[in-house]
């Protein structure tokens, strides 16, 4: 039996919006593919060595916790950079993406210096913006149409638009202006998408697992069917593309 090792970063801290569903999806799909998924929860006081893992996941969390999390992650900054450079898969969702950028400007003017692994400046917003998302994403050389939700607490401004994770069909995305969603660096996915992403888009989850397997020279597969998720996708896309929106760019059928 193949084995994959997953590091789930700070689950007690970063677990908004039912995001543990991403872990359940990885677990389920690994089960379907007869892969033994070993999940290590990394807490604030846990020892952590990124390079021993095949996959790393950090889910959406509150900005107020970032300073404490950064304290724990900063000693691993170079190892995390190397982890990504080695083409290993990483998923970071929601507001937690901000922590991987250069700096975060909070609503109260406090500035938090991030890990600096993404060319990203983040500005916390006064109001929350919640909506659906549909976009075309590129991952591991393949194209995926992704659906999900986002609860946006901040605007994400990347210094370059060379590596967006997705191009929006509908949604607010990084900042409600440039029609880009998230950022892709090597095999790392940094996205605003909630839903949870891997539950609603198991085809992407499957590719994430494929990346981890190919890094270990293991056989990969695309032969999985997801009927319920496919039907869910179609129902929701119809709804989203026909609904009323105040978005200006990236407003789907009303564009």
């Amino acid at each position: 039996m193949k084995t994959l090792r997953l590091a789930w970063l700070f689950p007690d801290n970063f677990n908004l919006h039912g995001e543990r569903g991403n872990i359940l999806a990885l677990h389920r799909l690994c089960g379907m593919r007869n892969i033994d998924l070993q999940i290590d929860e990394i807490h604030l006081d846990s020892p952590f060595q990124p390079d021993v893992y095949d996959m790393i996941v950090m889910l959406s969390g509150e900005i107020s916790l970032f300073p404490r999390i950064l304290e724990a992650l900063t000693p691993h900054q170079i190892s995390l950079k190397n982890y990504l450079k080695d083409g290993k898969p990483m998923l970071v969702t929601g507001t937690s993406v901000a922590l991987w950028g250069k700096r975060i400007l909070r609503e109260d003017k406090e500035i938090i210096e991030g890990l600096g692994l993404l060319p990203l400046e983040v500005k916390e917003n006064v109001a929350v913006y919640g909506d659906d998302l549909i976009y075309q994403a590129q991952y591991n050389g393949r194209s995926f149409e992704i659906i999900g939700n986002q609860i946006q607490m901040a605007d994400f401004n990347y210094e370059d638009n060379d590596h967006p994770f997705g191009i929006l069909t509908y949604g607010y995305g990084n900042n409600g202006a440039d029609c880009y969603e998230g950022y892709g660096i090597h095999q790392g996915i940094f996205t605003n998408t909630l839903g949870p992403l891997f539950i609603l888009n198991p085809w992407l989850c499957n590719e994430f697992i494929n990346v981890a397997l190919s890094n270990k020279n293991e056989e990969t597969t695309e032969n999985l069917t997801f009927n319920i998720e496919q039907k869910s996708f179609e129902e929701k896309k119809k709804y989203i593309m026909g609904k009323k929106t105040n978005l200006r760019p990236c407003r789907g059928a009303k564009q």
């Binding site: 995001e19 929350v128 919640g130 949870p196 539950i199």
Partner: protein, 450 residues
């Protein structure tokens, strides 16, 4: 002068609204008057801030406000309140405009206001109450509130040394305010037969003090229960000021300080509302607790454990959930899980259609533990809502429910749904959906039965 214009305008509107419909207008006159004088609430006269209680939090603020008013009813006290549920600044302005005389003077003994947690700083700016009860601070209405810290920061804005705090002893986020007021009192519910635990696969909560993981000994309500942080020692008080004990769901009773109370609504989350109200009666109003016993008996508020709708041979049992609110959903799942009889469960989660843009959020279901319910002798699951029925079904699949047990009805048509219910082998039907969907279904059932 602006204040008087605003006040008189509000009073005239109040009078006219009363002529049209006595049940309307909890917000309207205040909203219009605030356009004339945006600081109207701060301009009323004769206010003693030491005699104002605000009740805020995610869940239970309305029930707690109703119960406190009910418990105060036998006393000859003039209470200004907002029982109609308008809990934003216009609602408060409406209540005050009704209570004031034409010169803006308020003659009252206490004000007891339910206040929306997100708008608390705006209300407090004009009406700086010196007593604040926080029911709990949970994930809720994320399209408006984002994350719980968004609300914590709002409440932090009003914290000051004059404030007397009444806090839920078993909610870490609420209890974390304990050092910020003039005095702090705690209310609590002891472990009882519907106390539960969640599997270890569920993450916990960050300690509000040190960010390490909070450990719960048990939950009385989702994310509310006896807790401690191993790292910094932050925990529930061992000896809270008001604790409900000896909860007996069969007899519908509980005890406080050895005194037995009737439990008008036998739901675990209501116990915290009872505890909070009794704490206020004791510490703020200095009333004898045993005098509250008979008053509890005729407390009428919201629905009971579940509404029962007879439908042919079937009984449809409905418990209200609020969309985007995992706590109310978890509570419903727990109640269903306790019924060992064969049953069918109909789940109608809908897109969230509260403010534009509407959206297809069902992610809060992954914060809930469906396991015990899914394993509780359920013969069939019916997922019946438009747009997100497949997501609902998928959530059940993730809990180990086999696809053979699932009937997915993505058109949300109630006729078709009722037809399917009629053909189910079991007569014991549970319904999980929001109130609007239930009301519509109930209307159709009543029409069919006529």
């Amino acid at each position: 002068m602006r204040f008087y214009l605003a006040l008189w305008f509000a009073k005239i509107l109040n009078f006219l609204i009363q002529l049209i419909d006595k049940n309307k207008g909890s917000n309207f006159s205040g909203a219009k008057a605030l356009k004339i004088d945006p600081q109207m609430v701060s301009h009323f006269k004769g206010i003693d801030y030491a005699k104002i209680l605000f009740i805020t939090g995610t869940n239970g603020k309305s029930s707690t406000t109703h119960l406190i008013n009910h418990l105060l009813a036998p006393y000859p006290l003039k209470i200004i309140t907002n029982l109609e549920g308008a809990n934003l600044l216009p609602g408060i302005a409406t209540s005050l405009s009704k209570a004031a005389n034409w010169r803006g003077y308020l003659d009252y003994d206490y004000m007891v206001f339910e206040t929306d947690e997100r708008y608390l700083p705006l209300i407090y700016e004009q009406l700086p109450a010196e007593h604040l009860l926080i029911t709990n601070l949970q994930k809720d209405q994320v399209q408006r509130n984002g994350d719980p810290d968004f609300i914590v920061r709002k409440i932090n804005q009003i914290m000051n040394p004059k404030l007397n705090l009444y806090l839920n002893n078993e909610d870490p986020r609420s209890k974390a305010f304990e050092d910020q007021g003039a005095s702090t009192f705690y209310y609590s519910v002891a472990k009882h037969e519907e106390t539960f635990r969640k599997p270890d696969s569920f993450p916990s909560l960050s300690c509000p003090r040190c960010a390490h993981g909070i450990r719960y000994t048990y939950f009385n309500v989702d994310n509310i229960g006896d807790f401690h942080c191993d790292h910094c020692g932050f925990s529930s008080q061992e000896n809270p000021d008001a604790r409900i004990t000896d909860v007996n769901f069969k007899d519908k009773t509980f005890k406080k300080d050895g005194i037995r109370f009737p439990m008008p609504y036998d739901l675990p989350y209501m116990l915290y509302n009872y505890a909070g109200a009794l704490l206020i009666m004791d510490k703020l109003f200095h009333k004898e607790i045993d005098a509250c016993v008979p008053v509890f008996d005729d407390f009428k508020n919201i629905a009971g454990r579940f509404e029962k709708i007879p439908y042919g041979r079937k009984t449809i049992k409905y418990m209200r959930i609020k969309q985007e609110n995992p706590d109310t959903l978890q509570n419903t799942l727990n109640v269903i899980a306790q019924d060992p009889e064969p049953k069918a469960v109909c789940i109608g989660l809908y897109p969230v259609e509260d403010i534009v843009p509407y959206y297809t959020n069902t992610f809060y279901t992954f914060d809930c533990d469906f396991g015990p319910m899914a394993a509780a002798n359920v013969e069939q699951f019916l997922c019946f809502s438009p747009v997100v029925a497949y997501d609902t079904a998928n959530r059940l699949i993730y809990e180990g429910v086999s696809e053979e047990k699932l009937y997915i009805q993505p058109n949300g048509d109630f006729d078709e749904m009722l037809h399917h219910i009629s053909e189910m082998t079991t007569d014991n039907i549970y319904l999980i959906t929001c109130l609007a969907s239930y009301d519509e279904l109930n209307t159709q059932i009543q029409e069919k039965l006529q």
